[in-house]
Symmetry: C2
Subunit: 365 residues, 2 copies
C-alpha cells in the first residue's frame, strides 16, 4: 500500500534508521516475558545516557510525544498548583492547555515566536511556583532555549522540559541542569518511528506524583510497578507496545553505537550546511541567531521569492510530488509564513541537505 | 536482541500475521502526507466493517487498549454523571476506576468472575443513567456477555462496550446492537502488535463529547479534525504512530481478505478443539458454559493436577523455556487459580492448539 519512499525533511517523523526497521520485524514477545523485560530495561538504560540522567524512573510512555507531555502534567500538577510556563511557540502553548485541564493556575511567560524564552522573566514570573515548564527545542519555530540557568535558580519548583526535538540532536545533561521532568518523542533525532514518548522523572518529582492522577492510562504510580525493577515482580498495567519498544531499543543502539557525541556532531554539521545553503539562496532564516536548532531550520517565506503564481503550499507540494521530499509548513500564527526543514535521525546526512538545496533551487529559481 | 520466536498463547499479544510484520517495514510517511491520509481512511473503513458500524468517527487511538477505554470515558463522562458498569473481571473493575477519576458516580453491577453480567440487573441498576458500560469479552476470565438486549432497552443512556478481546474473534454488530461507543486493541484477534486502540462513536455519542475533556491527548474534538474527512484539510493534533497504523491496516487486510466470517470461524474451531482437548486431559474450565470465548479459554487450576513440587507458575515457565509457548496466569483475585490460554489472530491455528495440548500433557502427566 505504501509505495513512495520519501526523504522526510519536515519537523518529524524523520526517516528511521535501517536497523530500527529491521528490529520492528523481530518476533513478538509477551509484555511479561523475561526476554522482553530485559530489553525494556536495556532501553531505559540507553535512555538515561541520551537524557544525561541517572533517574530511576526513565522509560517510554505508550503514546506519542504529546502523551509524554500529558503524563508529566497530569501526574505532577493538581487543582490550584501554580505553573509558570514559557511560551514561544505551539508546544509551549500546548503545555498551557494541558496544565489548565489539570486545574493548574498557569502563569504564561511569552516570548516572540522565533526567539528563546528569557530565563530571568521565567524565574521572576511568580514568587513560589510549584513548577516551571518550558520547551527546550521549540518544534514550531526551530528555537533552542537554554535551561541550565533556570535549573540553577528554580528554588523549590520542579523544572519540566519538553525535549521532543532536542533529544539525540543536542547535548543533554538533565541532572547537571537541574531538570526534574523531561519527555521526548521517538520520531525526531532518535531516528525511530513515532509512537513512544521517552519520559524521565527525578526522585524529587517522583515524590510529588499525585496519589490518584486523573489519568489511569498515564498513572505513573501504576506504570512504575511495571517498568522499574525495584520491588520484585512486574505488575501488569497495560500491554506495552512491544514492536515500538524494539524500534526504540534499536534506534538508541544506533545512536550509542555511532557515539552520542558523533550523532550530535552529525546533526550540527547538517544544520550548518543547510542554513548556509539557504542563506546563499537568499532565503531568510526565521529563528534568532545563536538559538537556532541544527536539526530543524525555519525559513521566513517572502512572497516575492516564490515562483509566479505559486503559494508556499504549492512549493511544498512540488517538493513532495517531483522529488519525494517532505518539508513542513508553519503552525498557528506562522502558518503560511515559515517553512520548517528538518535533518534529524537517519535523515541527518549531508546528501539529504544537498538534495533539498538542489530541489529548492530548481523550484524557486 | 530478540532471539526467541514464541508461540503466544496468552491473553495477548498474539503472534502477528506475517503480512503485518512486513507492513511495519514499509517506508515512513509523514502524518500529513496524502498517501498516509488515504491509508488511514482505508484503515478506518476496514475498522467499520469489523465493528459492524457505519459510525463516521471510527479510527485508532494512539495508545494501547486501555487508552481507548480512557478516551471513551474522559470524553463522555463528567463530574456528577451516573455510569452503570457491569463488573465480572479485571477490565470491568478498571472501567470503574477510570470513570471515577472522571468524576462520575459509578453504580457497579457485579457478577461472579467466570460468569456473564446479567442484562436485567444492569438495566435496572439505576432509573436514569447517563451511560451503561460493560466488557463484551472479559480478558481476565474468558467470558462473553451479550449486549443486544442491553442495547435494545438502554433508554437515553449511552451504551459503551469494551471489545478488546472480541473484535475480529466474535461476530460484531455494534449498530444492530445499539452500541454507542466501543474500543478495542490490536494485539488480540486482529493479529497486530499492541500499540493502538480502535475506537468508534455513534453520532449520538459524538454529540455528548465534553467541550473541553480533561485529557488533551485523547480530546476527541481535536482528534476528529485530523482523522475524519468532513470539513476539508486535516488539522495537526499529535503525530500519528505511522508504522503501527501500517500494521493495523495490514492486519485488517488479512482479516477481510480471508473473510471476516472465516476468521471468526477459525477462532471458533480453535477454541472448540482447545477446550475439548483440555477437558479430555481432565482439566476443568473456569468460564461458564455457553459464555466461553473461543479465542481465550480459562482453566481452573487444581493443585492435585500439578506435577509434584511445581507451582502453576513453574508450569508456565516450563512451557516458555522448554517449548517457547507463552500462556497467561490469572489476574487479581484469580491470580494463581486460573490459566488463560489464547488462540487469537495468527496464533488461532489448529497446529498451535495441538502443540499446546501436547506440551501440557507432557508437563502434567
Amino acid at each position: 500500500m505504501v509505495v513512495n519512499d520519501r526523504v522526510l525533511m519536515g519537523p518529524g517523523p524523520c526517516n528511521p534508521y535501517p536497523e530500527v526497521m529491521a528490529a520492528m520485524g523481530r518476533p513478538m514477545l509477551g509484555h511479561l516475558d523475561p526476554e522482553f523485560i530485559a530489553l525494556l530495561e536495556e532501553t531505559n538504560d540507553r535512555l538515561r545516557i541520551v537524557f544525561g540522567t541517572t533517574n530511576a524512573l526513565t522509560f517510554p510512555i505508550s503514546g506519542t510525544g504529546s502523551a509524554g507531555m500529558e503524563a508529566a502534567f497530569v501526574n505532577l500538577v493538581g487543582r490550584g498548583d501554580t505553573v509558570v510556563i514559557g511560551v514561544n511557540g505551539v508546544f509551549g502553548t500546548r503545555m498551557c492547555d494541558v496544565a489548565a485541564r489539570c486545574g493548574a493556575t498557569v502563569v504564561q511567560v511569552e516570548a516572540e515566536w522565533g526567539r528563546p524564552v528569557d530565563a530571568d522573566r521565567l524565574l521572576n514570573a511568580h514568587p513560589k511556583p510549584d513548577m516551571i515548564a518550558l520547551v527546550h527545542a521549540e518544534t514550531s519555530t526551530g528555537v533552542r532555549t537554554d535551561v541550565a540557568d533556570i535549573g540553577a535558580n528554580k528554588g523549590d519548583a520542579l523544572l519540566l522540559i519538553d525535549c521532543v526535538t532536542s533529544l539525540g540532536g543536542l547535548p543533554m545533561a538533565l541532572d547537571d541542569w537541574g531538570v526534574d521532568v523531561a519527555y521526548s518523542g521517538t520520531q525526531k533525532c532518535l531516528g525511530v518511528p513515532p509512537g513512544l514518548s521517552p519520559l524521565t522523572l527525578s526522585d524529587e518529582a517522583r515524590d510529588r506524583i499525585a496519589k490518584v492522577p486523573q489519568s489511569w492510562y498515564l498513572d505513573l504510580n501504576m506504570i512504575a510497578k511495571y517498568v522499574s525493577s525495584d520491588g520484585g515482580a512486574r505488575a501488569y498495567h497495560h500491554t506495552a507496545p512491544i514492536s515500538m519498544i524494539y524500534a526504540l531499543h534499536a534506534g538508541l543502539g544506533v545512536v550509542l553505537g555511532e557515539g552520542l557525541e558523533n550523532v550530535i556532531d552529525r546533526h550540527a554539521a547538517c544544520g550548518s550546511a543547510l542554513l548556509a545553503g539557504l542563506e546563499k539562496m537568499g532565503l531568510e532564516l526565521f529563528a534568532a541567531k545563536n538559538h537556532r536548532l541544527p536539526q530543524l531550520t525555519s525559513v521566513r517565506i517572502r512572497d516575492d521569492q516564490l515562483p509566479r503564481g505559486m503559494t508556499e503550499a504549492d512549493v511544498r507540494r512540488q517538493l513532495l510530488v517531483r522529488y519525494g521530499i517532505e518539508i513542513g509548513g508553519g503552525l498557528g500564527p506562522v502558518a503560511g509564513k515559515v517553512w520548517r526543514i528538518g535533518a534529524m535521525g537517519h535523515t541527518a546526512r549531508q546528501r539529504n541537505v544537498t538534495l533539498l538545496l538542489g530541489a529548492l533551487d530548481e523550484l524557486l529559481n
